[in-house]
Amino acid sequence: MAVQHTFSKEIGDMMYASHENPITDCIQCGTCSGTCPAIEFMDYSPRKIIGMIRADLKEDVLSSNTYWSCASCYHCTVRCPAGIDIAEMMYALKRYSMWKDQHKEGLIGPAFSESFVKMIVNSGRSYEPILAATYLPKFSASDIIQEAITASGLVFGGKMNLFPKKIKRIKNLQNAIRRIVPIGELS
């Protein structure tokens, strides 16, 4: 009979960065929730999400927007008295949801991450205006450029590159990536 792993073990196994501090060490004190700057926009607080993972409420956790609302600011991480890297746990949940292709409807995060990775695998560099233009229908790249004649010289004297650069050894980078994840053939 196949071994049934708990959801907290599955998520724990997806957190290389914090394997020393299992989610099961959580004492439900709520310091993470009190610290989180994005909590008002989450279906469940970080404290509740950890409790729900431990209670094996996989479907409820995955269908919430909590982990996709995390801004990765690590404020919860540095304050957790049990030493749990909660921000990394949110990343683990994002990976799990991408892997299972299962998430709350209407979220931009999963598609954004996917496009971002494709962009880097294709060119080696990221380029914000293109990403922004893709994901902000109400706020296109030209709007950004129009708005951006700003104090710090965002678009400084036309010096901003209009297109992303490709790194020189992009083929080597792609071949290196192939030894980590299957990315198939690229144009």
Partner: protein, 292 residues
Amino acid sequence: MKEYAYYPGCSLESLGKSYHLSTLEVATRVGIDLKEIEDWNCCGATAYFPVDEMLAYTLSARNLAIAEKTGLEDFVAPCSACYKNSYTTNKYLKSDPDLAEHINYALEKDNLHVTGRMHVRHLIEIFVEDVGMEVIQKSVTNPLNNLKVAPYYGCQLVRPRKNDENVENPRYFEDLLSALGAEPVEFESKSRCCGGSLIITNRHAALDMVEKLLQDAVYSQAEIIATTCPMCNVNLEVYQRQVNLEFGTNYSIPVVYFTQLMGTAFGCDSKSLGINKNVIPNAIERSLVKVD
């Protein structure tokens, strides 16, 4: 002249161009040489980790491997996200031989090898720790006339914790501003998150986070906000108008990179610092009028 392996990161080639320009200008003034590493790639930002953790570390490892080849000791990143990703990757490479072996197997394809021997540091640490306040103070020709500046550290410069440093109330940015003749204000939200990449994926949440920061900067009586990261700068500056539209507020607080303030105090012309308007002189003037 001390040399550093300099990793600008993608933002400094586009939206953060002025950060790049002012960084190089200011570095020359205080006698440090930032040598840009060749053919660097994206650090993975925050959008990589949701896809594959190993892939994210491999990307940062390639930059570290390229830097190691230069023979230099310090790897310097001006962007806080690049800094955090490079720092943690380096740490794991050093402490986990299995991870290093796997990543090196991949990097063979680019004839690279990484050991994790670089000291990964944020740009502001170079100025504060290596150059030091004395040299910075000596380079000041146009002191900032007690301009009230909110030192905005942001999140990934300070967190996650590296050693036993003060993550709740760091003070080195304040010290740097004082050395320039500015007056750092007590800015409670100095390491509260700006919303970072949520500006694209969860606009409403990010604007709310930006609004809270602007509110606190005004409450702290800051006349200008200084940043240490291109993401923070873009969120606080470019989206101020959006915040005003959404929240019915009327913020118009200038946001500049800390290197632009340094350059202004060093007497560099605003063009070489990538400043379009005379925001800093204007802010100083306003501040002087108030004192009178």
